[in-house]
Amino acid sequence: MIQFERFTLNNGLKVLFHKDPTTPLAVVNTLYDVGARDEDPDKTGFAHLFEHLMFGGSVNIPDFDKPLQFAGGESNAFTSNDITNYYDVLPAQNIETALWLESDRMLSLAFTAKSLETQRSVVIEEFKQRYLNQPYGDVWLELRPLAYETHPYQWATIGKEIKHIEEATMQDVKDFFRAHYCPNNAILCIAGDFELNQIKTLVEKWFGEIPSQEKYVRNLPIEAVQKEFKQKTIERKVPSDAFYYAFKMPARKDPDYHTADIISDAIGGDKSSRLYQAILKKAKLVSEINAYITGSLDQGLFLITGKLAPGKSFEDLDAALWLELDKINHLHMETKELERLKNKIQTAKEFQEQGLLNRAMNLSFHELLGDANGINTEKDSYKNITPEAIHRVSNQLFRKENCSLLKVKAI
C-alpha cells in the first residue's frame, strides 16, 4: 500500500503528499494536463518544444538548473501525447528550493529569444537523432497518421515535421503557456521524509498566490470507429523487412484496458508468449516479434511488431499471424496461463514501487485518471481478469477491420 495525503489549493492546484521516512531525498513532481494531442494540427511539436523552454528561466529566476544543482539536486521532464511531466530530485532538507523553482515557472516563464532559438535547434537535433538518423526511426511518423485519421494522436510528440518547429514564433509559445500552464491544470506530488502540515505550509507559501486561468476545455476531434482494414508500405534503407500491426484498443480509463494489457503480455510479452513460440521458434518466420500497447488516455493502439527472417515474405507472416490471432479468439484461457501472466505483473509492480520517483510520478498520473489511490487498486484490476473477459476483448481487438498495417520494405 502506498500511503498518501491529498489537498487542493484555492487556485485549483491538486497536491499529493507521500511520506517516506527511509530516504534522505525528496521528489517534487509536477504533472501538467497537456500533451501533443492538445496541439493545433499546423503547429505540432509544441508541447515538447515547450517542455524544453520550461528550463530556460522563469519570470523571477533567470536560470532554472543552477539553483537546483546548487541545492544538490537534478531535474528532468518528459512529454507524451497526453501529458507533460516535470520532476526534481534533491536532498530533503533543500526541498524549498525545488518548490520555489517550480512555482515560479508555473507563474510565468522568462520567454527569452535566446532560449527559443537554442531549444529550437536542440529539438531539431533530437528529431534527427531519434527519428530520422536511425533505422526504422520514422516508423511512428508513418504509423500514426495511418491509424488515426482525425484524432490528434495522428502525430507524434516530436511533431509532424521539422518545419513546424522551425516556424514556431514567440507569440505561439506564449499563447500555449497561457492556455495550459496554470495551477488548475496541474497536479503536484511531493514525496520524502516530511510531515503533512509542513508540506501544506510550504506549498501554500509558494503556490498559493499563483492565479488560476480559464480552464482549458478539451474538445478533440473524435476518431470514427474503424470499419475497414488499412495498410501502407514504405521503403527504407534498413537491414530487414519489418511489420507493424496496429489494432484499436480501449482507452486508459475503460474497464477493459487492463484486459487488453494482459492480452499483450500473453501474446507477445516475452519468450514464453504465444507469438514468440508459434511464429519465431516454430515457424521461424521472424527474427523478432513483440506485442505491446500505447496506454494512451484516449483510444489507444495494440501493437504487434517485428522483423521478418531472411527470405520470408510479408504474406507468409500475415497468414501465420491471423491464424494465431484466430486461435486466441477461440481460446478459453487456462487458469495456469492466466496465473502465469498475473504473477509476472505482480513482480513487475512490486519492483516499480521501489523508487521514490516512480511512486511520485505514478501517484500524479493516477490522480489525473481520477484518483491517486488507483496506484493501490490497480493490482485488483489485474487480479480480477477472467478468461471470459480475455475472450471478449480479444474478439473485439483482433478483427481485420480494426487493424492498420505498416510494412517497411528493405531496399
Binding site: 537535433e125 534527427k128 513482480t347
Partner: protein, 419 residues
Amino acid sequence: MLDRTISPAIHDIEKIHFVEPKIYPLQHETKLFLMKEVFDETVRIEFHFQAGAIQGVKNAANFVNSLLFSGTKDKSSTQIHEELDQLGAYLDQEISSEKAFVSVYCLRKNVEKVLDIVHDSITNVAFLEHELSDMIQEKKQRLLVSLEKVNFLARKAFQQHLFASNEVYRRQLEPEDFDQIKIEDLKAFHREFYLNGLSKIVVVSNLEEAIINRIVEQFKGWSNTTTKTYETKFNNNKGTFHITKKDAIQTAIRIGLPMFNKKDEDFIDFQFLQTIFGDYFGSRLMSNIREDKGYTYGIGCSLVETKLTGYFVIATEVAKEVSEATLTEIKYEIDRLQTEPIPADELNLVKNYLVGQLLKSADGPNSMMDMFLSVYDYQLPLDFYANYLRKIKDMKSETIQKLAKKYLNWSDFTIITAG
C-alpha cells in the same frame, strides 16, 4: 510579501548514511553479498562470472551468455522460460569485456524454486543446434540494424583505437563471425568460465539466513578456481579517424584516452574535473555545445573504470554540418580548463551538486550495494566515501587546472567521427 527573486536557504549535507552488506564466503575467493534493507517482497540476485569477451576463443563469451537458458537435455528453452514466468520471475543476461552477469528478479515467496531452475538451466545447458541457429538469427539481425547507427559505428571504431595495444579488448562481433561458431568451443567456454567462473553473488532482499545458506550451498560449486589476467594500461592510437556512413544526417563523435580507476590518487580530483567538463546538465560541454550553439540533443563525458585501469571518453551526436565546429568547441573547452581558473560560484555549484549525487547514490538498498562493491572490488575501505566527501568540499580551482594540464592533452586523444 513573498520575494520570489530570493532563493530559499540551502542546507549543507554533513554526512551520508551507509549500510554495509553482510558477506558469506562460498569457495576460494568467491563470496555472496547480502543487503537486507528491503521493505517489500522483491528479490534481486546477480551472479557475476569471469566470462567476459576477453576470455577464451573470440565471440564464445557473447554466444554462451545468450545461450545460458536455451535448454538442457531434459527441458527446452520454452519450458525453462514458462516455468520461470509461472513463478513471476524475470531474467537478464549481460556481458562486457571483463565480466558477464545473470540477473534474476522475483518475489520472496518463489526464490527457492526460481533458483533451482536457474541452477539447473545453467549447469546443464546442452547447446542444441536449433537453439544456436535461432540465437544466431536474432543476433545477426540486431547487429545489422546496429551497423546502420552512427553512434554504434563510432563506439566500435573507438574501441578499436583506444585498445590498440590489446587485441582481446578489441574483440567485437562481426557479421562474418556467425558462420564460424563451433559448439565445442562454446561448451569449453561454458565449463571454464561459468561452471568454474563464478566470482560473486549479489543479493538484495530481505531473505532469511536459512535461504542464504541454501544459496551458498547450491552455487558454491561454480566458484572460480583460477585468477584471470586483465589489462593494466592501455596504449591508444592517437589522432582522428573517420568512419563514413552514407546518407547520415548526424555525425557521432567519440573522443577519449586511457586513464585510471579509483585506486589512483588523482581519481577523486579527476571526477570533479570531468563533472565540470561534461558530466552534469550545466557542464562546460552542455552549456556550450547544446545550450549555447544548439548543435546537439546531448553531450557528455565519463571516466570508465576497468578492473585494473580505466579510460576517459567524451560522446555526442551532432548535426553533420557542425561536426568540425563541435570538435573545435570541445578542444576550446579543454583549453579553458587548462588556462582559466574555475570561478568560485561554479566551483561551489559543482561541489553541492556532487554531494547531492553522492546522497542519491547511497539511497536505497540497490544503490548502497553498488556503492559498497564499487570500492570493495578495488580493495578499498568504505571510508573512501568520507574521503570523497571531504575532497569535494575542499576542492580548489588550482587543482582542476593542474589536472587538466596533466591529463587532457589534445594530441594524446583518440578522436572518432562517424557519419
